[in-house]
Symmetry: C14
Subunit: 79 residues, 14 copies
């Protein structure tokens, strides 16, 4: 059972690690809300707003991706 | 029982990982709320607002999808 | 008892996964609140507002459906 | 005792899953609050407001129903 | 002791499920607060406000009733 | 000890279920706060305000009563 | 030890149930705060304000009393 | 050890029950804050404000006293 | 070991009960903040403000003292 | 090991009790923030403001001291 | 089983550590929201805004990267 | 192992007690924020503001120091 | 297994310690948000704003680095 | 295994203690945000603002350092 305990811990840990994207998901949703409001007030600045949203969300996405990477590593490498 | 412990941990982990979309769900709801308010004030900018909402929610969706992927991997691959 | 431990973990995990729709439920409620307020101020833009609410809530619903899918998979496939 | 462990986990999971409607309940209450305020300010738009409230709450209800379905499945199918 | 474990889990689960009405209770209280404020400002629209409050709270009540149903099922059917 | 385990779980569950009125208690307190403020500004609409408060709190009370019913059932029927 | 396990669970449950008045206590405090502010602005409406505060707090008190009743039942009847 | 388990549970439950006054304590502090502000603006209405604060806090105190009573009962009667 | 289990539970419970003053501490801090602001705006009403702060904090202190009493009882009487 | 279990519980309880000053610490920080703002706007009322801050924080400190006393009692008397 | 316990703890710890980016993710999302709003109001200052956002998010990213580093170290070095 | 259990509990308790400064740290940060804003608006009152900040933070520091003292006592005296 | 228990505790503790940067990450994100808004309103003061942001974030970073140091010490020295 | 249990508890406690800087990190981030805003509005008062920020953050840092000290003591002295 020795190896299985390690695998079990890895898979349980992967499930916990998947929660690591909660902050990024909430943050990106708030950013989208502000972008929608900004576009409705200055439709002529829409391309600037969308670019800012893209770049900001790409940065924010990073912490969500970190959690994904940890989860995948735990499942595929150690599970 | 050794293999079953790994499977049990994987399935329990999948249940925990399914909570990882809470942040994205709340964020998208807030973004929708702002979009509804924006459309009611500038109905003429509706297509711009909807496009922004679509793109922003698509990005936000990512962290929810990460959690789904981890859950499915844990269920189908290791469960 | 080996197989039963896996089933027990799957069913317990399904119960936990069912909490994954809390964020989406709260978000959709907030979006509905804004839609109600928007309709009362611009009744003439009602169809635009309702369309935006439908589309936004459909996107938001996704994370709730992910949780449902994980729960059902855990119950029917592994329970 | 093997089968009973599965049943026990299913029934405990059903109890946890019943918490999944908390978000929807809070969200619908907020939506009702906004609807009440909107009706008091524009009584002439009451039918539009009520329709929006109905449709929005019907969508919001979905995540609460998902939790109910998971709970019932766990009790009746696996309990 | 096998059957008793199932019964114990069902009764413990019923206690946890009874918490599922917290969101609905808080939401209805907020809706009542807004209704009281609305009535004090537009006493002439009182019947419209009360109707809206009744219908909105009836919808909100649903998630509280779901939790009650799950609790009763767990106690009477499986306890 | 088999029957006692069921009774112990029922009584512990009753204690947890008694927390189910927290949301209703907080909500009714907020509604009372708004009612007090409304009465102080429109003392002439006092009977309308009190009626609204009574009806709204009666509805809100329901989720608190659900929790009480579950607790009593668990204590008297299964304890 | 069989009977003692039931008693122990009842007494532990009574301690948890005593937390059920937290929501009512916070809500009544907020209502008192609004009443104090209202009295300071309209001292002539003081009797109306106090009556509203009394009635509202009496209703709010109910969920706190439910928790007290459950605790006492658990201690005196089952402890 | 049978009787001691009951006593141990009673004393642990008493410690948990002592947390039941947190809501009342926070609420009374907020009420005091509003009273201080009200007195500074209408010093001539000071006696009315203090009376309202006394009565409101006396009601709020009830949930804190409930928790105290449960704790004392658990310690002195069952500990 | 029978008596020691009771003592251990009493001392652990005393530690938990000491957290019961958190609400009162936060509430008194907020009341002090409002008193400081009120004194800076109406220095001539300082004695009235201080009296109100004293009386309000004395009432608020009660829930903190309840927690202290429970903790001391648990340590000195049962520890 | 009988006596050591009591000591271990006392020392663990002392660690938990040390968290009881969190509320007082946060509250005093907020009071200080308001005092700083008040001094910057009415520098001439500085001595009145500082006196109010001193007295208010002295009262607030009480719940932090209660937690300290419980911790010290648990360490020195029972540890 | 001795070595496996260490590995299991390392992999479970890696899963917990992956939650360390939640704060950074939420913070970066809020920063993006402000940047989007700023760009829509001063499109001419877009390059300055983007530079500030880049630098600020790079600093914020650090705590997320710390969590990633700890997770990777735990998986690859000790898992 | 008897003495070691006491030491282990003391060291674990010391780790938990170290969290007792969280409230003071957050409160002092808020006070600093208000001081910075106050200095920027009334640079001529800077010495008064800094004195108030020093004294207020010194008082706030107390609860953090209590936690430090408890931790050190637990480590050095009992660990 | 004696040494392995210590290593396991160290590695689990390292995972928990990695959460210590959550506060710093959220705080730096808020600071970045304010910096972005400030730059968009006073682009001419950009270098002053960036310097302030750098210095403030460097100080804030410290608590995140503390958590990193503890984690690394636990992994490399004791793991 | 006796000594190892103490070491394990010390290292686990060190991991928990590392969370004690969360409050200070969030507080310093908020202070930095206010400083950035203050500098952008009164660039001429920049040195006063920075001095206030330095001193305030130095005081705030203390609770973070306390947590670091406890962690290091637990690792190096007792681990």
């Amino acid at each position: 059972m020795s190896v299985e305990l390690v695998q079990a811990a890895a898979l349980l840990g992967a499930g916990i690690a998947a929660l690591g994207g909660v902050g990024a998901g909430l943050g990106q949703g708030i950013a989208t809300a502000y972008a929608v409001e900004a576009v409705s007030r200055q439709p002529e600045a829409r391309s600037s707003i969308m670019n800012t949203l893209f770049i900001g969300c790409a940065i924010t996405e990073s912490t969500g991706i970190y959690a994904l990477v940890i989860s995948l590593l735990l499942i595929l490498l150690k599970g």
